[in-house]
Subunit: 538 residues, 2 copies
Amino acid sequence: MTYGYNGKILRVNLSQGTTSTDALDELFCRKYLGGAGFVSYFLLKELQPGIDPLGPENKLIFALGPVTGVPLPGSGRNCIGAKSPLTGGYAKSEVGGFWGAELKHAGYDAIIVDGKAEKPVYLWIQDGEASIRDASHLWGKNTKETQETIRAELGDNLIRVASIGPGGENLVRFACIMNDLREAAGRGGMGAVMGSKNLKAIAVRGHKEPEVAEPERLKELRQWVLTQGELRPPPYNDLDTWAATTIKDGTATGNIPIRNFQDGEFPEISKISAKAGRDTIRIKMETCYACSFRCKKTVVKVDEPYSVDPAYGAPEYETLAMIGCNCGVSDLKAIAKGNELCNAYSLDTISTGGVIAFAMECFENGLLTTKDTDGIELRFDNAEAMLKIIELIARREGIGNLLAEGTARAAQKIGKGAMEFAMHVKGVEIPAHDPRLKAALGLGYAVDPHGADHVANFHDDFYAQPGAQLDKIKPLGVLEPLPAGELGAHKVGTFRDVYLFRIALDHLLLCILLPYDAKRITDILAAVTGWRTSTYLT
Amino acid sequence: MTYGYNGKILRVNLSQGTTSTDALDELFCRKYLGGAGFVSYFLLKELQPGIDPLGPENKLIFALGPVTGVPLPGSGRNCIGAKSPLTGGYAKSEVGGFWGAELKHAGYDAIIVDGKAEKPVYLWIQDGEASIRDASHLWGKNTKETQETIRAELGDNLIRVASIGPGGENLVRFACIMNDLREAAGRGGMGAVMGSKNLKAIAVRGHKEPEVAEPERLKELRQWVLTQGELRPPPYNDLDTWAATTIKDGTATGNIPIRNFQDGEFPEISKISAKAGRDTIRIKMETCYACSFRCKKTVVKVDEPYSVDPAYGAPEYETLAMIGCNCGVSDLKAIAKGNELCNAYSLDTISTGGVIAFAMECFENGLLTTKDTDGIELRFDNAEAMLKIIELIARREGIGNLLAEGTARAAQKIGKGAMEFAMHVKGVEIPAHDPRLKAALGLGYAVDPHGADHVANFHDDFYAQPGAQLDKIKPLGVLEPLPAGELGAHKVGTFRDVYLFRIALDHLLLCILLPYDAKRITDILAAVTGWRTSTYLT
């Protein structure tokens, strides 16, 4: 097989309880690259039109890229795709951590899960061997209990686990899949698809690093990126993804959503600023596979009034905003607790925060009452209510059963004009970037097949002045800053280019936060595979 | 200034007899790169609509690229552009040799020549200084006499000269400009524009190699290309550009034109095959600036019945075909003599061969008679007639005055259905590649603003099977061979990509014959300038 790949796809038919292997040839790999490319290829080729996303006919695909698992920062990612129970269309979601790299080391490039197991199972993959194992004892457990139980019964603490908690089991339409407890393949309801198949987890252990075509060249690229750590703004390794936002210095400038995207002002914003996070709930920074950029907060300082388990990490920017100020909540400890709950239950924090904020606005406007909420005063800034609703959603209890359907479906069921308050695109809750500030990003929400996706998108403020972000797209011919508020032909053309660049990262798979520019990704691909490529796109 | 460039354009106003310098900034260089990019930028910005291509308002632009003059094979080229006296539209032509590299070393990135000198002049550029010098004594001389006289009077035998002979002086519409006697900026009549300005030559001497951003990386790339010499088909360094054709083994397969594109069969083809050329008229191979690929034949064996001066090199494939079998001529010695005459007089061998073949077909069909030709039996296979007509065209004497207008204009003047025999696109004689064999190449003839251009074009047979040529465009996503005879949507899309790739080479400027693929050209540009770029094109 070609460098960078194992040349193997693991097929798992849960209805029949069988596994098998497909071979991948070099031409296929070069054409579709991996990650999002593999996912969309197999979904397009193998899914019948009209199937129920939560039925056994849907397929759940875990795909790696050529770069996954090679010793280079940003290479720990994998992509997960399926027909989405949230949108009814194509969905894919990328996730970091260590699981993807481990799967590469275990001998596969992708897993295609088909059918539905009769009773709960998990998949165990070790150095090219796969088996389907009983998971009855794991059903109902949160992701940490699941991971710990699997590691204990297989007797290896270095096993990497991708799993769902009760959110996925209960088919919450925006349930996610958790890698290593802290990293979420968040959007589009991949966890619900996993739950619908009675697949609790995929445990992986591998010992073989992929061979690469030009190890010395790869080492050079690694050395280069290692020197970038302290230099580039924003300083993720100090302030994490919170730093990338307008709340860095404790001011709301219009990007972060306030109370279900109603308000621009949030006087309490300094309580949840990047610096406040660093100086209060955080004690250290952690990282993903092979990565020198320590952009992951870990929380351990929280104990009163909530105890927060640091194994689940700390809220990233999206979580902070969506279950925080978008719900009117400015209590960092409550937000850290909400993050823990979502990761334990496998709920996408963006959609969770979005649907709770929607419900709060409905409640404030009398479309929902305490009769609907079993007495919960579901008002903005009620942190306790926010946390309680997360529990109810995960278990589909009371109002949680309605909200587990996602904002768009809930609004339809509530009726009475609730759709006015439903902040979604194509059924996907809008993440914490406001298109009224980022015009081209709004275009991205509109045209992306996944709906409101902030990752494969154009963040206008990144490119409105010279700097590291503009440098990343200079190889695409974008040599001068583009005004943030504008949306003319040149801007839209550039939006397309940047969108495709980011999609390319989802094929390779490389982390979007790292300073790899549109030329360097072809250098990396050449070093790994030996292929000579370009970011040329027609 | 940025690496790879001097940051200076020399402006020459011949009407006023003045020179001046414009500064180039980095953003401009990065946007327009050089070569064809600079030429088209300045022509578009500075020429008034409707001007006479042979009037003083036309501008003649000599442009280098970032790669010109750096120590790398293929970097000896320059581009020359102007409004074309042949097409009335935009024209540019690239040329190899040593002159371009010398101009880079002399401190400039381009020369823009405006106006018209009262009497013949030449330009002398030495290490950042430029002067306009009298050339009255050079007028009427051929290119070798011109070069030798200039070198002698300036006292430096290493001066590089771009010049015109009588063809350019006499405004032959397809006159070329000769670098170093052997290399022609052939197409579009740039030599006539030079002649119309009374500019006989540009003599250059420089001593400063351009600084590059990453000398070690450039060295690596040079080392890489040096190892490719013996490997890649076709073996230009053994058989030169003749090898790239279907006559390599002495068979005509439909690409090479026979008797003004009338015939597919030419039994005499083995007399002018690549091997015949190698084994009879050639004695050695020479090369361009910094190039390890010795693809230039030198002829010295010819003395009877013609004496051929080896200083003018030997016919390349286009010359061989156009003044050879396209005129029905299979006498290699006569073809070598014709090549010498064209290079001495600064006539484009393609257009010259094309217009003579056209006249021969007119003669064979009675549209021209010995009355028109002053007694010359202008029939196919009459090598003497072919040589004689070259002389007449250069001097615009007799029938030569008509043919100096180019095929399209001559056909119009002859009338009587002569246009049926006029093998041109947009006024430019069709080169020696037949679109009936190469379908996408024909599309290129049709859509290229220069008319029938075989260089910035798609040669279907290159990409019809795996190999070095296909490898060069793999980075553009062309992973599988494309059938030669086909012209479907995918082929046309690929045609566009390859066309743009070749145009990119004309910006950098890099030789199209070298094995640089669409990724490596960005590696080269990065090593030279430090810029991170891609072949991404929207």
